[in-house]
C-alpha cells in the first residue's frame, strides 16, 4: 500500500523535533529537558522511517531514545532540582553565541544553495525490506575500514573511561 498523508507527517514530525529541541535548552528543570530531548529523538526516528530507512529508525529508538537517554535521566534524577533551579541557566557568552549561530546559518544556506544540483531531485525509494541488508553490506563491505576505525576509537574511549574512573584497576 502506498504511504498516505506524507506531507502532514513530515511537517508534524519536523515541528515536533524543532519545538522539543527548543524546549531542551529553555526548560530550567533538567528532567524536563531530558524528556523534551526524548521527543526530539523519537520524531527523528519517525523522519527516518519516512525516508524508507526502518533499520536506522529502529536503532535510533533503541540506542538513543531507549538507551542513552535512560542513562541521562538516571544521572539527572540524582541531581538536586531545587539547587539547579536557583542557578542561572544561560551564561553570558551571547556575543560568541550569536556569531557561531550566524556562521552556522550561513553554512546551511550555502549548502542549500550550492548543493541543490548535487542532491538528487527526488530521493531514490529503496525497497524497505532491503534497508537492513544494505546497511550491513555497506558497513562490512565498502566502508569496512572506516567502520573498523570507528569501533577501535570507541574501544579506546571505553578503556580510557574505565582507567579514568577507577583509581586502582
Amino acid at each position: 500500500m502506498n504511504p498516505v498523508a506524507t506531507p502532514f507527517f513530515f511537517y508534524f514530525l519536523s515541528a515536533m523535533a524543532l519545538i522539543s529541541g527548543v524546549l531542551v535548552i529553555t526548560r530550567k528543570n533538567p528532567v524536563h529537558s531530558a524528556i523534551a530531548l526524548i521527543f526530539t529523538l523519537l520524531s527523528l526516528a519517525g523522519l527516518y522511517l519516512m525516508l524508507y530507512a526502518p533499520f536506522v529508525a529502529g536503532v535510533q529508538i533503541i540506542l538513543y531514545a531507549g538507551g542513552i537517554m535512560v542513562l541521562f535521566l538516571f544521572v539527572i534524577m540524582l541531581v538536586s532540582v531545587s539547587r539547579v533551579e536557583r542557578e542561572s541557566q544561560f551564561n553570558k557568552q551571547w556575543l560568541v553565541g550569536i556569531a557561531a549561530t550566524a556562521a552556522l546559518g550561513v553554512l546551511f544556506i550555502l549548502v542549500y544553495a550550492k548543493g541543490k544540483s548535487v542532491f538528487p531531485e527526488r530521493t531514490v525509494q529503496l525497497p524497505e525490506q532491503l534497508n537492513t541488508q544494505q546497511v550491513a553490506v555497506w558497513l562490512y563491505g565498502t566502508y569496512m575500514l572506516p567502520f573498523e576505525i570507528a569501533s577501535l576509537l570507541l574501544l579506546v574511549a571505553i578503556v580510557g573511561a574505565v582507567v579514568m574512573a577507577k583509581k586502582r584497576i
Binding site: M1, I35, P54
Partner: protein, 345 residues
C-alpha cells in the same frame, strides 16, 4: 485490499488482541495467586465464583472504586503520565506479534497479526526500552525516597539486562536472516529425521535461549530480579505513592510485558505456532494458534513457578550476574553462531 477493508480488518484485529491480552493479564493474576498459593500449601482465591474464577473481575471493580489519592508532594503532570506510559508501551508491542498463520475469514485473506513489519523485532526491543521511562519517571515524579530508589534500580537493571537480551537474539537473527517475526517463525518450519522440529532452540541456540529467559525475567522486574519493588527495603519501590487505577496500570503493564517476552521466546526459540496439524480444515486453521498459546502459557507458568520458588537477588549480585555472566555468554554464543553459519555457507 482496499484502504477501507484494511482499516476495518485492522480495527477488528486490534480490538480482539487488546481484549485477549487484557483478559489474559487478569487471569494470569488469578493463576499466579492460585499457583503460588498451592506452592505455599494454601488454597489461593476460592470465594468469588467457582475456583475463585471471578476474582479478577472483583479485583478490577475494587481498583475502580478505590479512592485515587494524589499525594501533595508529587510532580503532577509526570506523576499522572508515568503509569500511562508504562501501560501504553506494554500493550503496544502486541501490534507486531504474530500469533498464527494466514487465515481466510469472510473472504479476507489476512495474517493473524495486527501488522507485519519487516523490523518487527527491532520495534519490540525499542518499545520495551522506551517502556522503562514509565517506571523511571514514576520514581522521580513521586518525589519520595523509596520511589526514587525503585526507579533508579529499575533503570540500571533494565539497561544492563537489555544488552544481554539484545545480544542473545542476534544468534537467532543470523540463523533466520530477517527481523520480521513472521519470517523468523517461517524459518523454523519442518523437522529433522521426521521428529526433531527445526526450532532455533534445537538449531544450537539453547545458550541464547537461557540467556534470553533470564534477561527477560530481569526486564519484566519479576522474581528473582524484582529489586525495583523489593518490599522489604523499598516499601513498594517506584509505585509506593500510587493508588487505585494508577497502581493497577503499573500492575497490568508488568503482566502485559510478561506476555510480550513469553510470546517473543516462543516465536524466536520454540518455533512459534508450528506443531502437528490434523483433522478437518477449520481445525487446521485454529491449531497453530492453540500451539502458540500453549507455549506462551508454559512460559507464564514458568514465571509463576519461579516466583514461588526463588528468593530475591542482592543488588550487586544482580549487576554482577548481568554483566559478568549473561553478557559474555551472549557474546560467545553470537561469535560461535556467526562462525558456524559462515563455515556452513
Amino acid at each position: 485490499m482496499t484502504l477501507g477493508t484494511f482499516i476495518i480488518v485492522s480495527v477488528i484485529k486490534i480490538v480482539i488482541a487488546l481484549f485477549v491480552l487484557l483478559t489474559g493479564v487478569a487471569y494470569t493474576v488469578w493463576l499466579e495467586r492460585k499457583l503460588v498459593g498451592r506452592i505455599q500449601n494454601r488454597w489461593g482465591p476460592t470465594r468469588v465464583g467457582p475456583f475463585g474464577l471471578l476474582q479478577p473481575l472483583a479485583d478490577g471493580a475494587k481498583f475502580l472504586f478505590k479512592e485515587d489519592i494524589t499525594p501533595p508532594h508529587v510532580y503532577k503532570p509526570l506523576y499522572i503520565a508515568a503509569p500511562m506510559i508504562a501501560m501504553i508501551f506494554a500493550v503496544t508491542s502486541m501490534a507486531v506479534i504474530p500469533i498464527g498463520d494466514w487465515v481466510t475469514v469472510a473472504g479476507v485473506h489476512t495474517p493473524l497479526q495486527i501488522t507485519d513489519v519487516n523490523i518487527g523485532l527491532l520495534i519490540i526491543l525499542g518499545i520495551t526500552s522506551i517502556g522503562v521511562y514509565g517506571i523511571a519517571l514514576a520514581g522521580w515524579a513521586s518525589n519520595s525516597k523509596y520511589s526514587l530508589l525503585g526507579g533508579l534500580r529499575a533503570t540500571a537493571q533494565m539497561i544492563s539486562y537489555e544488552v544481554a537480551l539484545g545480544l542473545s537474539l542476534v544468534g537467532v537473527l543470523i540463523l533466520s536472516g530477517t527481523f520480521s517475526l513472521r519470517g523468523i517463525v517461517d524459518a523454523q518450519a519442518g523437522t529433522w529425521w521426521g521428529w526433531l522440529p527445526k526450532w532455533n532452540f534445537f538449531q544450537g541456540q539453547f545458550v541464547a535461549f537461557f540467556v534470553y529467559l533470564m534477561a527477560a525475567f530481569a526486564e519484566t522486574n519479576r522474581v528473582p530480579f524484582d529489586l525495583p519493588e523489593a518490599e522489604t527495603e523499598l516499601v513498594a519501590g517506584y509505585h509506593t505513592e500510587y493508588s487505585a487505577m494508577k497502581f493497577a496500570m503499573f500492575f497490568m503493564a508488568e503482566y502485559a510485558n510478561m506476555f510480550t517476552v513469553a510470546c517473543l521466546a516462543s516465536l524466536l526459540f520454540l518455533g512459534g505456532w508450528h506443531g502437528p496439524l490434523f483433522g478437518p480444515t477449520w481445525l487446521q486453521e485454529i491449531l497453530p494458534v492453540f500451539w502458540f498459546a500453549l507455549r506462551v502459557f508454559a512460559f507464564i507458568f514458568l514465571y509463576i513457578w519461579i516466583r514461588g520458588t526463588l528468593p530475591r537477588f542482592r543488588y550487586d549480585q544482580l549487576m554482577k550476574f548481568g554483566w559478568k555472566v549473561l553478557l559474555p555468554l551472549a557474546v560467545a554464543n553470537l561469535v560461535i553462531t556467526g562462525l558456524v553459519v559462515a563455515l556452513r555457507a
